[in-house]
Subunit: 496 residues, 2 copies
């Protein structure tokens, strides 16, 4: 059953023999449909619904949210409107907020959009924003995020031709800080020992309470987090992967701004997190860019000519190298012998692609292009070292996780890749440079945006709310920074 439900009722006219209240007659029918005796209405909704109820000739569609032992009425419409039943799934990304408008009757995605989180004007990175929050900026950050979300509501509704007040449910996943800021809660405590959030499990709220411009009493489910480091976005990804439904051991690699990984099955869940992402995100490599039109996302280097060829997102003129392009480039450089296993260029191998830029040697993917504003795109040893550090962190983390439960990597039956990099990275290249574990390619499953996917699951089947809670309660966090072997593993994993 979806997070909100629609019930078409034919309410018998009142008579001297049945002069139960107008609302009570509706409630009787709802009870017949659902078996639920406890039916709540906000008093304002009773008042505003009366004209609809009275002009409907007894033919009404009631939208309600079923929640445990009670049903909360959300709206009343005249006639049979069951085919207009929509919800929105939202991923509160630190950089990009993504939303999907979903037809709750058919499960179809009607519109899928992303918008830069308007909070970036208070800081590109999360730490800057958290500092601003701690200086009294919580409400400004909340407003910026809400503006972004409401803009997405607007865009997805317009592109689907659906009025926003037809959205009767929302499901939202984000990291712990984003979730706090969405709710107007100061996330400062998350960043200081003992790293305690204000709240992990947020009760189901309603749209008007949080300022979301959809149906005012629509239920808003917010994914729970676990402790401070495992956010609702990760819990949502775990839910989406289904790894807690199987006996088989699976691994979820969520590579976004933060790198997170979860190992487990239906009985146990072990997770760790770290700032793995930046090397892949575009903030680190000199010619890096976000995965947007024009970003180089695939690179192949001819082993004979050593000349590169590449594709860009949407086939737009190349503007930079996104994470997947960077990983491809490194894998290809290594494969054709232009890179050694320590991450150093093999300059003895001759190619016209070696050029000196800012006193350092770079491998040129594009030439200097005068006459337009496009810069040359290249890769340096420093860029490669950064990626290898990330790779080393991932490998070390995975080794710690596996050792903690005493299993070998071969026992991992499925590897779900998610997060803004997980979506684009080539499994082959990622395995080649050691970023992904060396397992048969058919064990890798690209989830895409796991956070959004889990949010969507809850919208379409509200029983996933309990599953999300179970996941958040069950997951064990492994703190890598205090782990005795992590640094050793990290150091020895810095090679391809």
């Amino acid at each position: 059953m979806a997070l909100s439900s629609k019930y078409y009722l034919e309410v018998p006219a009142a008579s001297l023999d049945n002069n139960k209240g107008e609302i009570d007659r509706i409630n009787s029918l709802l009870e017949d449909f659902t078996g639920i005796k406890r039916i709540d209405w906000p008093i304002d909704l009773i008042i505003s619904s009366l004209p609809v109820i009275r002009s409907s000739n007894g033919q009404l569609t009631v939208t309600a949210c079923r929640d445990g032992d009670r049903l909360s009425v959300i709206s009343v419409e005249s006639g049979d409107t069951r085919s207009f039943h929509f919800g929105i799934a939202i991923d509160l990304g630190t950089t990009v907020v993504a939303a999907e408008l979903i037809d709750l009757k058919t499960g179809d995605t009607l519109s899928s959009e992303g918008e830069i989180n308007a909070q970036v004007r208070y800081g590109e990175d999360l730490l800057t924003r958290l500092h601003f929050a701690s200086q009294g900026g919580v409400n400004e950050l909340k407003s910026a995020l809400l503006d972004t979300i409401n803009k997405l509501v607007d865009i997805t509704c317009k592109s689907s031709g659906i009025p926003s007040n037809q959205i009767s449910a929302a499901s939202i996943a984000g990291n712990t800080s984003m979730t706090h800021l969405f709710l107007g809660l100061d996330p400062s405590s998350i960043r200081h020992e003992p790293y305690v959030p204000v709240v992990n499990h947020v009760p189901v709220l309603n749209a008007s309470e949080v300022g979301l411009k959809i149906l005012p009493y629509a239920p808003i489910f917010i994914f729970p987090s676990s402790g401070s480091f495992l956010g609702g976005d990760l819990i949502s990804g775990v839910l989406a992967s289904g790894l807690t439904k199987s006996e088989k051991i699976s691994l979820l690699l969520d590579i976004g701004t933060n790198g997170e990984m979860v190992l487990g099955n239906k009985d146990w869940l072990l997770a760790c997190a770290g700032a793995a992402g930046p090397a892949l995100e575009g903030a680190v490599a000199e010619c890096a860019t976000r995965a947007k039109p024009g970003a180089i996302d695939r690179v192949v280097i001819d082993p004979t000519t050593l000349e590169p060829s590449f594709s860009t997102i949407d086939d737009k003129p190349a503007i930079g190298l996104c994470g997947s392009g960077l990983v491809d480039a490194i894998a290809q450089l290594y494969s054709v012998g232009l890179l050694d296993s320590t991450g150093r260029f093999v300059l003895e191998k001759h190619t016209t692609r070696w050029q000196k830029i800012n006193h350092r040697i770079a491998y040129m993917l594009t030439e200097e292009r005068t006459g337009n504003n496009l810069p040359p795109i290249y890769i340096t040893e420093k860029d490669i070292q950064n990626v290898l550090r990330t790779k080393a962190a991932m490998v070390a983390a995975l080794t710690v996780l596996l050792n903690s439960v005493g299993i070998s990597i071969e026992e991992v039956q499925k590897v779900y890749t998610a997060g803004s990099f997980g979506i684009h990275l080539s499994p082959e290249s990622s395995i080649a440079i050691g970023l992904y574990p060396k397992l048969p390619l058919n064990r890798f499953i690209q989830l895409g945006n796991g956070s959004l996917l889990g949010a969507r699951r809850v919208l379409l089947d509200a029983s996933n709310i309990d599953e999300a809670k179970r996941i958040a309660d069950k997951i064990t966090y492994l703190e890598l920074n205090v782990h005795p072997t992590f640094m050793n593993l990290f150091r020895s994993a810095k090679y391809i």
Copy 2:
């Protein structure tokens, strides 16, 4: 368990090993106390409580409302405040609104006050107000009633030295129209065929939703009604009487502005209602007044001298005759032979008390008192006829009720008297004139304000909410106006 509960918690400090959210740590302890997993907080309360939580050294008192399978948090205070735990019971009378401030820990009544319903400025009687409501006056009537209630909150709090935001629960009973106006619902439909209220069973709301100036998230229980004619005040009275708890058949006579009676036991409940009250209310008898200081409430006539003596409420100078004084006077006039069984004066019997007032004979209770503003107080045959009509209606109604279930009056084991007249009427006099059934005096139990009493019961024991619902669902309404024998019974009962 009271409608709101207080829990004293000692929340362990967060540590690296326990970095659950601040709210989640509180919820864990609440779950330990109550066994309830589902704990709801309004997001505003989380935000506003954080400074209290953080400055409390972990010692907190949480006030919450337990409701089915969930606990709704109402407030958070620093330290152990369990001894400050208050609720307010309110009777929404058409004329007088009454309130009792109750210590929910001890059950003590800290203050009990009544205030004229400020709606009277839109009409003394209900019908005038309902007409005003139907002309768009709902919000004005709601405000007037709310002003009266909030004034009572203020008065009872001041007289008890308790801040109003320490009141964490309210329980409210009123007739169907008053309940509607309290909620801002137009009660017009109640008065027109097929006599349908907007709502009988009102969900538990919170104080800020209805505009009650107590703790904003305090639960507000509003007694359900049954159909249009049996109001929440009557349901509350039935609850207070306890007649649904016994196998024995009992009768509840609720004599206020309307006369209502309920016959039944734990298995069945039969009720009827009619405008019985006005004759007793002060609007009908020429020298009538409400039961207030100076009202003559007890009358004795010396059988030898035929001279009256009387007492007044609070021993203040006599200003008029309230319902109980009127019933006493009629009973005494009949008893000493000054009145015959048809309700006519026996003028042949000489007394100086017979005087002509406005061309009609009256029996003078006081003399004309010149020199002060107090009018003479007397009783006329017309006053007596009015009371006898009320009495006839009561007798006919009771006969119809008894006949419907085939029992005799002697099988009625208890007679609970309630309502603004039920409080004051002398059972002896009421039996003497036939207003009350002829049963042994020890079967009569004065409930007082049954509506307020039932509201109080719910405050102190929230399981009575379900009992009130059961009563409202179980009670069967007998429509007297369409009953074939009622008018015959009425005509034959117009004698003493």
